[in-house]
Symmetry: C3
Subunit: 207 residues, 3 copies
């Protein structure tokens, strides 16, 4: 099994869990859980594949992805009430999903021999768009755009790190590991320690 | 005219009527009516065609679809005030659109020889995504995700019924009729009699 | 540089500025600015290219578009506080972006020899969809659907004017200039003088 396939599986599984958790906040039924889980799980990768004209779209060529997402939805439907703070769990699961999906996007674009800018963008699209679709459809404030948190920034830094490291080594495992570690470190640091970039202020204090 | 073409026409027409009804709730002008009607009418089928890489997208190959959607928008613009309860009408029209669009998606995927999982998914995408786009763009609570109603479930059951029946008969008309009937029966039963699946509850009563 | 390339560049630049302005209303950080700017800048054209199956999508073939959008985001991040009324600026910039993006869509479809209906639709998709994505993602009321303003109507009229003029002249510069001028005149007239079409009223006065 190639690194890309493995990353796709992992990101589908974890994103599906986050989708099902959002569905639990909306008190949907079991099919609604599966629907949101699948949308979140394959949304970013689907957009990546449509943009890169990869054919077929990854989950059309292998329906296992959908079955995994449905299994994740089922699991959350029957166990989410055991969790103390579902929103906290959602945030942390989402950080892992991001840290797996960004290298998945990077890997897909690199395999096709795309330029550095495109590789970075595909990493960001794959990492951020599934969660964005989940939040837009379920009418939550998109995590992607939450003020004062690193999210798109973490995806950007991870993808950039991958492109930088790829200049020095041809080993995809090292490249993807650096990508995942950078992405997750920044996102987790933002969640745990409040790391952030300065946000825009309409009236900044004069320096 | 093939069954698929006929189903596409019917689903475009009925979804366009629902789109125009939502536009009337937003008090848009006539071009706004046509815009929302077209988005709703072709949204699901377009996503299906892009995912399956069908070329060209169905309404690009035959602009009649767009003209039908615009005619539907015009009709609603001038007659919607005659209707007692527009929201009730919207719900019921939407149920017919769903029951026509799901077999349209199923039929397109079957014609391409896709596997059972993909056929079911394409039925759900074609049936649910146009209405979802309509509701997201117009800032309505998506019908797809409304609590305590069968919607995605109806689409899922209809598509599953089609795949099951297709194992026993090669006649597409029977397959598509079973699909449409199952979908509509579940959706209509949910609207008329409150049929539902148990929804997720954060603190379920102990059994 | 072809007229289409030039139009794409200009619409990317101006739409990116509007995206960054919306990001400033959401008080995002610098990467958030770039994200919303890129989404707005390439959203409409990307949808156009995916629908028309143009390959590769315009910004994948030439990453300069993304760099331009990021530069625009940077500019707005550091200068937006100098502007008296950011929303007013946003509306007017958006009108210019619309007037450039509609001919960009029209031009792409005409180059491919599409029929008149498709050309008009691609003009509308390219012009309206980027701004719509921006507003949906950032949870603003979509400009596209704002009551009592010409927006989709302006795009429609501009694209229709282009198709009409193209029957009499083969010079793409004239066609695209008429398209841009018509679009902008209607949109600007709506902003400045309140031009509008009659909107739907649930209970219209009897005539």
């Amino acid at each position: 099994m190639s690194a890309l396939t493995l990353l796709d599986y992992a990101s589908v599984l974890i994103f599906a869990l986050t989708g099902a958790l959002v569905a639990s906040r909306q008190q949907l039924d079991i099919v609604g859980f599966a629907f949101v889980a699948c949308l979140t799980a394959v949304g970013g990768g689907t957009l990546r594949d449509v943009l890169l004209d990869r054919n077929p779209v990854f989950w059309l060529g292998n329906p296992d992805y959908i079955l995994i997402a449905c299994a994740a939805a089922l699991l959350v439907f029957f166990t989410a009430h055991l969790v103390e703070s579902r929103y906290r769990l959602l945030l942390w699961l989402d950080s892992f999903a991001l840290a797996v999906a960004v290298p998945a996007g990077v890997s897909a674009a690199m395999t096709m021999g795309q330029s550095g800018v495109i590789v970075v963008l595909m990493g960001m699209v794959t990492g951020c768009m599934g969660g964005l679709m989940r939040d837009v459809v379920c009418n939550e404030v998109p995590l992607v755009l939450k003020q004062g948190e690193l999210y798109v920034t973490a995806a950007f830094a991870g993808a950039l790190a991958a492109v930088s490291v790829a200049m020095f080594t041809g080993d995809p495992l090292i490249v993807l590991a650096v990508c995942a570690a950078t992405t997750w470190a920044l996102r987790a640091g933002s969640l745990a320690f409040g790391w952030r970039l300065p946000a825009y202020r309409a009236r900044p204090p004069r320096s």
